[in-house]
């Protein structure tokens, strides 16, 4: 490429990532575990039950759309004729439609769920989705909550919330032991907590390097291939930790040696929340302009940009009992200030500067591409206001419309690419010669 400025080269950790992913996939195909439906981010105790595997509908729903549009349409129709709204989250329309049909996108039988832990979430669609599993057939369901409030931290207010959260998790574990005759491995839980700290640090370091190094050593397009490893794609905790250390070390080396994700980097942009999983091509399309995407709060492992101190127990807090471990892992802060889903509620005026402005500055971004999802309340709420605030702060913003990251119905791909052309050209940028 004529206008290449930086050296670039493929990521070496790719091979390991592929190996781990393939191993996970192979295990799923052959395992006979008790399958629970839940959000793997919140059900972070699952490895302490060796015979249990948690699956989540978000990635499964997006996979259906990405693999087969006709099948995804069929699934959503199967949901709609049974009462699911046509403007609810595409992930759910797809996955529950597949459950109604009885088979998945590969034609294999829909994997039976033996229990469900609905996703406690400020997204209305997500909060309600888990009930489908128990509506479909009588299986156990355990609930929890994502507590929150506005304004400065109030420890007194959090006390009852923390008790509630701890109760919910302890009850889930206790009941799973009782109902399924499984033994919860308390020592494994403590081990996971400690390895989780190191993993989070690795992810944070990667996000910091990505945001603060020019050229970016890795783009979000690449990160999307890795970032599910460890939570959506559950693997052995030690292998997971080794992998994230590997990625961190490589990104650090690339940053120190100015190895770019995109050799022509000259424009940096951010997003908010997930992309259209079925049309990731736009990242490559933008690369023709020398534009690199740094991701969103959704992908960033670092909460540093928020400028909010993360409240945690001291590292040497003794974890002697199961309750200690659960209270520790549920965090002492009921609101979980790094939770990206709550940004729209708390991290905005009048409670502080808009989180997206902070994120854009942190990433040294030139612009922001903000999706407006017709079928996504949680990923669209306040997006227009954020755009206004970003513009006032001097960032160029483009909106594009679609149904939802897991539903391609309303995304006019051609129009979207034309919008990207207009956006880039309006900023005086032309496609680079190849």
């Amino acid at each position: 490429m004529k206008e290449q400025v930086w050296e670039t080269r493929p990521l070496e950790c790719w091979a390991k990532a592929k190996e781990l992913r393939a191993e996970w996939q192979a295990n799923i195909a052959k395992d006979d575990k008790i399958v629970g439906q839940g959000n793997t981010y919140f059900v972070d105790w699952q490895e302490a039950f060796p015979a249990i595997r948690i699956v989540e509908d978000n990635p499964a729903g997006s996979m259906i759309q990405a693999k087969s549009s006709p099948f995804a349409r069929k699934c959503r129709l199967a949901s709609e004729i049974r009462g699911w709204g046509r403007e609810i989250c595409g992930y759910h329309g797809n996955i529950w439609g597949s459950q109604f049909l009885g088979y998945d996108e590969n034609g294999a039988p829909f994997a039976r769920r033996h229990f469900v832990v609905p996703f406690p979430c400020v997204c209305d669609s997500h909060a309600k989705r888990g009930q489908q599993v128990r509506d479909f057939e009588p299986v156990p369901q355990w609930m929890s909550d994502q507590c929150m409030y506005l304004g400065p931290r109030d420890e007194d207010r959090e006390e009852a919330m923390n008790e509630h959260k701890a109760y919910c998790t302890l009850r889930q574990i206790n009941d799973i032991e009782r109902v399924f005759g499984q033994k919860f491995d308390d020592e494994k839980m403590v081990e996971m907590i400690h390895s989780g700290h190191v993993e989070r640090e690795c992810r944070s370091e990667i996000s910091r390097l990505m945001a603060q190094t020019v050229p970016a050593p890795i783009s979000v397009k690449d990160m999307y291939s890795f970032y599910t490893l460890g939570f959506l794609t559950r693997i052995d905790p030690q292998k997971n930790l080794d992998f994230w250390k590997l990625v961190r070390d490589e990104i650090k080396w690339r940053a120190e040696n100015h190895i770019a994700a995109l050799g022509t980097e000259r424009f940096r942009w951010i997003e908010a929340h997930p992309p259209s999983w079925h049309f990731l091509k736009y990242y490559r399309y933008m690369e023709q302009y020398g534009a690199v995407c740094l991701g969103s709060q959704y992908t960033s492992g670092s909460g540093d940009y928020k400028g909010i101190e993360r409240v945690t127990y001291p590292e040497d807090t003794p974890l002697l009992t199961r309750e200690d471990a659960i209270r520790y892992s549920d965090t002492p802060n009921a609101r979980e200030p790094v939770g990206f889903k709550q940004d729209e509620y708390m991290n905005r005026p009048p409670y502080g500067e808009d989180v997206l402005i902070k994120f854009a500055r942190y990433n040294q971004a030139n612009g922001a591409l903000l999706a407006l999802w017709r079928c996504g309340v949680g990923c669209t709420l306040t997006r227009k206001e954020q755009a206004m605030r970003l513009r006032e702060a001097g960032f160029s913003v483009l909106h594009y419309e679609g149904s939802q990251p897991g539903d391609r119905t309303d995304l006019d791909e051609k129009r979207f690419l034309n919008q990207l052309d207009n956006w880039m050209e309006s900023q005086g940028m032309q496609k680079l010669e190849s």
Binding site: S79, R82, G83, W84, G85, R86, E87, I88, C89, H92, P118, P120, V122, C123, D124, S125, A127, K128, R129, G130, Q131, Q132, D135, Q141, M143, S144, D145, C147, M148, Y149, L150, D154, R157, E159, A160, M161, E163, H164, Y167, C168, R171, E344, Y345, R348, P349, P350, L372, W373, R374, C375, G376, V377, G378, T380, L381, T382, R383, K384, E385, M388
Partner: protein, 381 residues
Amino acid sequence: MDKFKEMIAHRHEYAKAWKARTGGKVVGWFEPYFPEELAYAAGMLPVRVLAEHETDVITDKWMYAACYPVRDIVNLILRGRYDYIDGYVTVEGCQWMFNAFEVADNNKKAPFTHYLFLPDYTDAPTSKDVVRSEFEVLKGKFEAWTGKEITKEALDNAIEVYNKNRRLLRCIYELRRADSPALLGSEAMNIVLASQVMDKAEMNQILEKLLDELEDRKPVGDKIRLMLVGSETFDSRLEELVESLGGNIVIDELDTGSSYFWNETYPQRDRLMALSLRYLGRPHNPIKDSNWRRRPQHIFELSEDYHVDGVIIAKQIYCHLHGTDNYAVWKLLRERNIPFLFFERDTGLPEEDTELRLEAFMNMLRPGLTRLVGWHKAMSL
């Protein structure tokens, strides 16, 4: 009966006059889990922020894909229709409604705003403690804002006034169980809506008088008995449309209807706990019915108690809560052979389209009803 409809139409003037008369503060609430008793005990007038459609060229700037009541509320707030409101409180619930609160918070800054967390998991033993704690926080904030302590006596009085209001509304709804009720669905809806924007003590006096009048009122005649389920509504246009076609909504399961007043507060020494249990024990809307499916069964029980011939499910487009809950409701109604009509509402009520659907639905019900030989309605329908 028209006075209730007029009351809703003139609710802004009513609240302004109340302020001028009492010198008190008006607090606007968005979600039905707001403990009005606390505001009332603090000497305030709690009013539900009702939607009403006016030409809207504003809200597109602020929001995307929100349901029309939320847009209309934002439109009204930004146009200054609710400028007399001194404080806004919202409760964790519908996200679009939170969006309305948040836009109001950013653009029409009221002297007081508060967000109250209420768990989606309403059945845990710890849920009541969370809600009690949240109510205590709100009570403290009200006291700091008004500079007045909320005494036990004031709270007891508020609980009793609100309980009385609920009992009176329940009495009115009980009259609708009659074979030929004395009031129409539209009238009942206007009464409940008016009750959400008026001083409860004043409303109670009106309702007591109304109950006496209703005892002597001529029945409205035999009509197809229908139930209304779905997203909350802020007027009685749908009920009126049903009535124009020979039907009568005899019961509803709406957040702005029966669910608003269905259960009372059972007093106990810990008043905040009593309130916590009342709000956690009310007929839940979809987002708070996230654990056990109590809502479909409640709908079924109401349909049985009120002897309905069919159910109308009217969902606001972009209502994610009912969009994810309808499956369970449809399933139960189908299993129990209860006919239902589902349709989506958008900005306002598309009259002709809705009329056609309602007419077809009621025509479908009529032959089945007339086949019930000996039944009192058979000839007149």
